[in-house]
């Protein structure tokens, strides 16, 4: 792997959090570099110097949210909670990770071997093969304000 250039003069955690919000709100392709500069407060040169590309920034954000395989508690970072697939409602960290995964699965994984491998590994670590699929599917519907348990009786008036 190549070196990372000059030392960073920014709060990487805050930058990744801001970039994550931009990516999950707008999607990967629709998030422009200018959107990321506005969200993170970085200059264009600093963003490229630190992360190499928009893809590099997305990967860094995804890795920051994935549970650390070396950490038996499954925490993504200090203070983050482990996944509890058995509990009903996902907590805020889980929702952010699921939204990042949805964007990655939909927009990057079909044509990006590295992203596909990263997600495949993360889902495999999750336990039962269908557990991750169920979580992602539930989140996809919840994001769209669709509750399959409560089908609406009537369509909105035209």
């Amino acid at each position: 792997m190549v070196g990372m250039g000059r030392p960073r003069s920014f709060d990487e955690h805050a930058v990744l959090a801001a970039a994550t919000t931009a990516f999950t709100d707008l999607g990967y392709e629709a998030t422009s570099v200018d959107d990321l500069l506005r969200a993170t407060g970085l200059h264009r040169g600093s963003l490229y110097q630190a992360f190499g590309s928009k893809r590099g920034l997305f990967l860094a954000a995804l890795r920051a949210h994935l549970p650390d395989p070396a950490d038996p508690s499954g925490s993504a970072r200090p203070g983050a909670t482990a996944h509890r697939p058995s509990s009903g409602a996902a907590d805020a960290d889980d929702v952010v990770l699921l939204d990042l995964l949805l964007v990655a699965v939909l927009e990057l994984a079909p044509r990006d071997d590295q992203v596909r491998a990263l997600i495949t590994r993360a889902l495999a670590d999750h336990g039962a093969p269908d557990a991750a699929a169920l979580l992602l599917g539930r989140r996809l519907l919840a994001r769209a304000h669709i509750d399959p348990a409560q089908p609406s009786r009537e369509d909105p008036a035209p």
């Binding site: 190549v2 250039g5 490229y48 110097q49 190499g52 590309s53 990006d112 071997d113």
Partner: protein, 123 residues
């Protein structure tokens, strides 16, 4: 098309085409893939201040050659006004004369994906 970008198993080749070869004073850049950190579609980059020009050309809507800004040395070959700026890609480098390449290419999406896939295969 201002720049022909091709990939060999080990290198990224950038060849300014036509008159751009003359304006940019560059026949061909050969960058080892190990020195390429990533590529991004970045149409808005064309609106950034470019910094100081060394050898090269800066006329409205067109920048070709070597520019320095904030200690970074970049190679620019971007033109075509709006239609060209929409096809701007940025390639971040490491251990090279240029920290960054700003290029107008015919197929930004295909070029960026090919560069990122090529450097990923090496790691």
């Amino acid at each position: 098309m201002n720049n022909a970008v091709t990939l060999t198993p080990d290198a990224l080749l950038v060849e300014p085409t036509g008159l751009d070869r003359m304006w940019s004073f560059t026949r061909r850049l050969t960058i080892p893939l190990a020195h390429v950190r990533g590529a991004t579609i970045d149409p808005d980059a064309a609106a950034e201040p470019k910094g100081l020009r060394h050898p090269g050309l800066a006329v409205p809507g067109k920048w070709a050659g070597t520019f320095t800004k904030d200690g970074d040395t970049s190679f620019w070959n971007v033109s075509g006004r709006r239609s060209g700026h929409r096809r701007t890609i940025v390639v971040q480098l490491d251990q090279e004369k240029y920290q960054r390449l700003y290029l107008t290419v015919a197929d930004p999406r295909g070029t960026v994906d090919a560069i990122n896939a090529a450097i990923t295969r090496r790691t």
